[in-house]
Amino acid sequence: MSEGKKEIIKKLNYKGINPIKLEKDLVAILRKGSSTVEVSNYLKKIIEGGKYE
């Protein structure tokens, strides 16, 4: 894992976001055929909603 990525993951974790889980969830949502609006709303909830472990 690159140093930059490690640092970004650490910062996101500190801000209450687990990017690895988020990536998995978002790809799964898209694979199930969800629209970009649904993905956008999901992301907004994660960004504005505080903890996401």
Binding site: S2, I8, I17, E23, V39, L43, K44, I47
Partner: protein, 636 residues
């Protein structure tokens, strides 16, 4: 547990119930053509993945049956998928499949319907590039990045607007504080100047005494004013919470009343619904029995037709020995076909009638008992929310009452201090009269003290406004935090995109190279897949080649290599990897090496299934458990 059970009824060529056991590791389904190898795979596919086209589903269900099912048990998981032919001839699948990952179909079921197989065999390199990008998740990551970029602009715009608004307000207040403080300083300077004047000498001590008291009063006033502002801010914030709570409460109370009305109405109609469901169920029973009669008749007629068709070319009937009258037989076949067609139409009509009634029953259940159950559940949830809201509302109202009392107390204290301050000013007025030689200066002094008081009060109020702005600042900070989060997410996904790109390309290249080694095709240079997912096939020595130039066997190995690597990468949790028919394109020597490779790499989690046609022995057979070889390669 190491066994996987698959039960099939009316699937593919199987018209009765069939039961097969598979095992972790390599399972070679080794049986002659038309014995049911692909039917077993089709059943497994139907139970495994959701995304099935109606055309595919139609091929899964036996042509002569209207219903069938697949039951798949893996470890402690069991799924049942039912297939039902609709009146219009299409087939629907009912039930939850083993996986809802759409990509499984592309990487775990390698048969002649597979998109990648078709693209490789038709040499469509552009399509392969698209499929590989889709499978590896690159397309999804690109979509996610596009969405995040859009969100970043939105968040940045919102943050900038709020920050500018906050900063301009703050700047304005700070400027006003500075100006007021300067005025205050000038006033105090002038007050000191007056005190140093000789005309004041006879009452200096008195005035200094008044000044000292005034100073003490102002200090206390300032503290009370700050507390007063704080209490007012707290009341305002709690008022906002209270109003929101009252609105929520109103909404939930209305919702509760609506639900109560709905429950009452359902309870009134429930008896009628039950009666109608009973009537419809009875009708379905009659229709089903009617269908049974027609189905039996159809089956008999189909058997007769089959026998007639079998003997039409014979001179003598093999059953009774009588000579065959071809014309008579042909007329009989036409008549039978027409009767069969009529019977099928009748059965379809009955099925459609049954379906209509079943739909109505479902509707009635939905709006009857099921709705009643859900409505009661909703009512409980809403009632609990109302109770929580009422409790919180009372708590906030109590807090507001306490704060109001505190505010009142502070106001009284301020009023009292103001009165004391007024008294001091009155004393100065008396001095003005008692000492006419100093009256002008004392008058100025008194006015300046009033001014000083107002300026101090103004400064306190301005600091209070700054405190109010802190709430706005919290909002700005939260927006700033969102911008930071979205920026970090964009950076993260961009890194992931480039990582996945090179990782996927590396892994695909690695496995392809390994398989090409197996095929003794090592003259293809590494890498053969560029970072843009473009296939660059180069024979050793640097001679470029294309997919179209590969043999069918090489293409089969190529597609197995790619999908096997991708499956591990994108659908590792899915236990099955199936190669149907494709192994036929590879000669036995190399097929054995491929099977060996799959067997060795299967591990204890994966179930690898490969179909291989057994040489035809002359006897038509149907697939049995004995035709499934576990971790055994039939090729010599």
């Amino acid at each position: 547990m190491n066994k996987i059970r698959i039960e099939l009824e009316n699937i593919g060529i199987f018209r009765e119930r069939r039961d097969f056991e598979l095992a972790k590791g390599l399972n070679v389904i080794y049986a002659p053509n038309a014995s049911g190898k692909s039917s077993l795979i089709a059943g497994l596919k139907a139970a495994s993945i959701m995304i099935f086209t109606p055309e595919e589903l139609k091929r899964v269900l036996n042509d002569y049956e209207n219903e069938g099912f697949v039951k798949l048990s893996v470890d402690n998981n069991e799924v049942i998928v039912k297939l039902k032919r609709r009146a219009d001839g299409t087939v629907e699948a009912i039930g939850k499949t083993f996986s809802d990952n759409g990509i499984v179909k592309k990487v775990a079921f390698i048969d002649l319907e597979n998109e990648l197989v078709n693209a490789v065999y038709s040499g469509d390199e552009e399509r392969i590039k698209q499929i590989l990008r889709e499978i590896s998740g690159l397309n999804y990551l690109e979509t996610i990045i596009t969405i995040i970029s859009g969100l970043r602009s939105e968040y940045e715009y919102r943050y900038q607007i709020k920050r500018r608004d906050y900063e301009s307000r703050r700047e304005e207040i700070e400027k006003e504080i500075k100006e007021t403080e300067m005025n205050l300083e000038n006033v105090r300077k002038r007050l000191n100047e007056i005190l140093s004047r000789s005309e004041i000498e006879p009452l200096r001590k008195e005035i200094e005494n008044i000044r000292q008291k005034q100073k003490e009063i102002e200090e206390r006033l300032s503290i009370y004013r700050k507390d007063e502002i704080e209490a007012k801010n707290a009341i305002a914030l709690r008022d906002i919470d209270l109003k929101k709570m009252e609105a929520d409460l109103k909404f939930f109370i209305e919702k509760r009343n609506e639900l109560l009305e709905e429950i009452e109405s359902i309870e009134r109609n429930l008896i009628e619904y039950r009666r109608e469901i009973e009537k419809l169920s009875l009708e379905i029973k009659h229709l089903a029995s009617e269908k049974g009669i027609f189905s039996r008749e159809l089956s008999e007629k189909e058997d007769i037709l089959k026998r007639r068709k079998q003997i039409i070319e014979y001179a003598i009937c093999p059953y009774c020995g009588a000579p065959i009258d071809r014309k008579l037989l042909e007329a009989e076949i036409i008549e039978l076909e027409s009767q069969i067609s009529e019977l099928r139409d009748k059965i379809n009509d009955i099925l459609s009638e049954i379906e209509k009634r079943q739909r109505r029953i479902d509707e009635l259940k939905q709006s009857g008992e099921e709705r009643l159950k859900n409505a009661r559940k909703e009512l409980d949830e809403i009632s609990s929310k109302i109770s929580d809201l009422e409790q919180n509302k009372n708590k906030i109202e109590n807090e507001i009452n306490l704060l109001n009392r505190k505010l009142k107390d502070l106001e009284n204290k301020i009023k009292q201090l103001e009165e004391e301050r007024e008294l001091l000013l009155k004393r100065l007025e008396i001095f003005e009269k008692e000492y006419p030689e100093a009256s002008t200066l004392v008058d100025e002094y008194r006015r300046l003290q009033v001014q000083e008081h107002h300026l101090m009060e103004r400064i306190d109020r301005l600091h209070g406004r700054l405190k109010q702005l802190e709430e706005m600042h919290k909002d700005v900070l939260s927006e700033q935090n969102n911008v930071e989060k979205v920026n970090l997410l964009e950076k993260y996904f961009r890194i992931r995109l480039s990582e996945i790109k090179s990782l996927a390309v590396d892994r695909i290249n690695e496995v392809i190279l390994r398989h090409f080694k197996l095929l003794k095709l090592a003259e293809l240079e590494f890498p053969i897949l560029s970072s843009d997912f473009e296939l660059k096939l180069t024979r050793s020595g640097g001679v470029p080649t294309t997919l179209a130039e590969l043999s069918d066997a090489e293409k089969a190995i190529f597609v197995i290599a790619i999908t096997y690597a991708l499956k591990e990468y994108v659908a590792e949790e899915f236990p099955f990897y199936v190669v149907d028919t494709l192994i036929e394109f590879i000669d036995d020597t190399r097929a054995r090496e491929v099977l060996n490779y799959l067997m060795e790499s299967a591990g204890s989690k994966n179930v690898i299934i490969v179909t291989k046609t057994k040489p035809y022995t002359g006897e038509p057979t149907i697939l049995t458990q004995n035709d499934i070889l576990v971790n055994e390669i039939p090729l010599k």
